[in-house]
Amino acid sequence: MHKVLSSGWTKAFLFLLCLAPLLWLVWGYFHEQLGANPIEYITHKTGDWTLRFLLITLCVTPFRKLFNQPQLARFRRMLGLFAFFYGCLHLTTWVWLDKFFDVHEMWKDVVKRRFITVGMTGFVLMIPLAVTSTSGWVRRLGFVRWQRLHRLVYFSALAGVIHYYWLVKSDVRLPLLYGAILGLLLGYRLVTAKPFRVRHSGSSGPMQMLK
């Protein structure tokens, strides 16, 4: 298991796997496989994958600890950046295919419609995380401050769940499921938080996690 997780091939394979939802959308669009309303389908799917990648990213640390697989941390940055990537695509479908770059209309929606306000908040919170995702930025900020900044991802995921919950008309099963998963992932962190020991880096310390 350790060997598989530390292999460069695994990371390359995972990278391609993360692109699969996008490849499906592109292929499906040109082969008319996205249903009667392909633009709505693309909007929904890019949104789904943004939230899913946020949750997958938040799984890394608990899984790493619970299953004692420190190598899992190698994938965290890539997964987080994929969440941002699908978030960008989701936002683009809205800006382009729904609002057709009408800035006035977009601003009206952002301030007036709470599900858009909260969705936009979730996206904006991801921007500093994507920008500071490089090793250089970890050095510049120092690990403790960097880690504190990156806790914003909890709020981004929470905003994503609320955005989804407020969007659906009446069938709230999926938003609640995502909410429950997020609750577990954040709950795990709350329970295992060791406020006085966090700064003493052990074998799974900061620099190793970034490799």
Binding site: G35, A36, N37, I39, E40, D109, K169, S170, D171
Partner: protein
């Protein structure tokens, strides 16, 4: 301009419609006895309906049958747009009868066959605007609801018409998760119900209604959001007070009793000024009363359709 390839060719001349409507099931049926059974059962429904052309039709290009039958809101059969096309075959639409009661001189239960003989069937090509900001153009077949109502002779107490959809939790398994109450109920004011545009539809594209589109009998009020046009009707009751309606019960601030198509009245969560016509890339401007204002605007003169009677 409606473009027809040939007067001789019929919509159903290419692939038999029941197989077409259930083609995904048909394709996987090979080794699956259950799937084959479903296709067989579906093959017993769907037949041609003769109808005269109506001057009330729009000349806009109808939306392809594929989209009309695979992009449906029929929450009894699931909340995804494609769910009804997968699940609605379970509904048995024959025999079918409609109970008509309430403030009428002649309450009765009518068989579908008798209902379809009340008035000549017409093809009415109507615009259809969903509250979710998408729209279609659908060649319905039916006759004015007013013809049916006249037959049962409403009394002076009949101020509204309440409709009820079929509900059977045994075949509508997904309905438990829909988040709205069933049976689905809707209503119209008497003058709306008697309006010549208001249709009782039994078919589309030249044939009886596919189950997912509300077989065997549904309402079509083209100047209102789609959810007002209740599907698979089993009961019509004439009443004195405004009847409850399903989406209004679910979220009163979002779905009013009238729910006329109105770009001036936002849905709380999205603007209603534009719509995506299915099959089109750009959005269209939404027109008040879905473009039927010349015929229906007078029904609402003096009413505040934005704040009060939305």
């Amino acid at each position: 301009m409606l473009i027809r390839k040939s007067a001789q060719l019929h919509y159903s001349d290419v692939t038999p419609r029941p197989i077409y409507l259930n083609r995904r099931r048909f394709l996987t049926a090979g080794s699956m006895a259950l799937g084959a059974l479903g296709a067989l059962r579906a093959a017993t429904t769907g037949s041609k309906l003769n109808a005269i052309k109506s001057p009330l039709s729009t000349s806009e290009q109808p939306t392809p049958l594929e989209a009309i039958t695979h992009y449906n809101n029929f929450y009894e059969f699931g909340t995804d747009k494609e769910d009804p096309s997968k699940n609605a075959y379970k509904l048995r639409t024959s025999p079918w009868s409609v109970k008509i009661e309430g403030a009428v001189a002649k309450p009765q239960t009518m068989d579908l066959d008798a209902i379809l003989k009340i008035a000549p069937l017409e093809e009415r090509i109507y615009r259809h605007r969903c509250v979710e900001r998408w729209s279609m153009v659908i060649p319905w077949i039916g006759f004015p609801l007013s013809a049916l109502l006249k037959q049962v002779q409403p009394t002076s107490k009949a101020k509204y018409v309440a409709f009820e959809s079929v509900y059977d939790s045994k075949i509508m398994l997904a309905s438990a998760y829909a988040g709205i109450q069933f049976p689905y109920v809707e209503g119209l004011r008497m003058d709306e119900a008697m309006h010549p545009l208001t249709l009782l539809a039994a078919g589309l594209y030249g044939e009886t209604l596919p189950n997912q589109d509300g077989a065997p009998l549904r309402l079509v009020a083209p100047w209102k959001y789609g959810f007002k046009s209740i599907k698979s009707i089993v009961k019509i009751k004439l009443v004195e007070k405004e009847p409850p309606t399903t989406w209004n019960l679910s979220a009163a601030s979002e779905y009013g009793f009238y729910s006329n198509v109105n770009p001036e009245r936002d849905h709380p969560r999205w603007s209603q000024t534009k719509e995506r016509r299915i099959g089109e890339f750009r959005l269209r401007d939404t027109v008040k009363f879905n473009g039927y204002g010349d015929q229906v605007a007078s029904l609402y003169s003096g009413m505040d359709l934005v704040r009060k009677y939305y």
